[in-house]
Amino acid sequence: MKAMVYRGPYRIEVEEKPMPRIEHPNDAIVRVTLAAICGSDLHLYHGMMPDTRVGTTFGHEFIGVVEQVGPSVERLKVGDRVMVPFNVYCGSCYFCARGLYSNCHNVNPNATAIGGIYGYSHTCGGYDGGQAEYVRVPFADVGPQVIPDWMSDEDAVLLTDALPTGYFGAQLGSIDEGDTVAVFGAGPIGLYAARCAWLMGAGRVIVIDRLDCRLERAREFAFAETYNYEQVRDIVVTLKKATDWLGADVAIDAVGAEADGNRLQHFTATKLKLQGGSPVALNWAIDSVRKGGTVAVLGAYGPVFSAVKFGDAMNKGLTLRMNQCPVKRQWPRLFEHLQAGRLAPSEIVTHTVPLEYIADGYDMFSAKRDGCIKTLVRP
């Protein structure tokens, strides 16, 4: 089969690979019909994630058709059209039993601090991902779900990570009616978080980025006020001024490990790898939220320490909340929002590339060229 293959930082190729096999009685093999590239994939592409092995296939956002099932699979059958959450999880461990699907204890031998993720390095369990023609899906009775007839392929693939993650971020903010919510990052995750903040009753939503075309999407898609942090002298002061000198009630980091905006942080994290990530957006969130406020972190950071302004967080009495999104837990409510017309996730898709040209897709998304916001991949 054809698959995207990692050959080193900034080098990916499309190669012939052996077909995945059933390796556990509850496995399924899924023929991928649509996949996507995520901002998280860029951390792998840039060599930021420890134990990313040459020859592995990325891709944790995909939908497809069940091609084969293991002997203990009861809920899926060959031919089913399924959407697969980005989390690999068992459904029965201490954490899964409590709804913490992204923190499963039974699927990632390589690390206890993170659950399993498709196509996301050995630090996340060593599973191949869905930027390929076929993929192995463990615990087929737990993660995947048959796509409802009314849902489009585009919406379904965006529900495997990006939309639930944005929605989850707004929940982590514990938004009260009338709250002012500041969202750092206007990528897919930030755009969805900003849009979903309104569902929870936000009174104002402010989005911060440096890319004007993304800020334009934030105004149109997410009905947000926007600031370009490169065009103001000090984004923290700008936000204080915009929020009656109190600060926002809730701030959301939708940027993560490769944040720009501070040369020292960016260089020590992305070039020297001296920290797990460049916490510029997280520090701005800490500094611009009001005392007693909540910072929700969706942005991903590596397992090594990062230079976070913990003293300010402590002195301000902040609540910091974060996690990888437990995707399937969000689905029933999000399905209702889609059906009621409250959310149309595919509005932010800008590009669709065939699997053969996925290297160009990564290159364009990484360089944020051509107004790229969300790229889908068709095997």
């Binding site: 990632n108 399993g116 599973y127 009775d141 009616e177």
Partner: protein
Amino acid sequence: MDPYTAGTPRPQVDADALRARIPGWGADLDAADRPSVPRESFDPGASGAHWEVPTQQPGGEERERSIEHRQLTPVFGTVAPLAGLAGRIRRTAYRRYSEGRLAHWLLLMAADRVEVLQSRLPGAR
């Protein structure tokens, strides 16, 4: 000069205006409608798992694991098993150091670079 006062300086929200401008405004105002609230809710039947303990996936004898795990997990990825010099460095990182130790991650990152260099040597593929 506007002094800091006890009341909120924010204007009262005009819920009707927001509802008219933004599709779905306030639909999840009630925390009961938010699926991840509360964060933990014990419901082992909810996931679809029809086992108490998953069957062990075979073939894990040589599989590296974090020493913060009691044993190999029942399910694990099998792509790109440890091999060559990078594999030896990775094995050391997993065997000797917990995730809490910087050495664990530095060794893994060193192995990543070694593997990329080796894969670019003539005849490596």
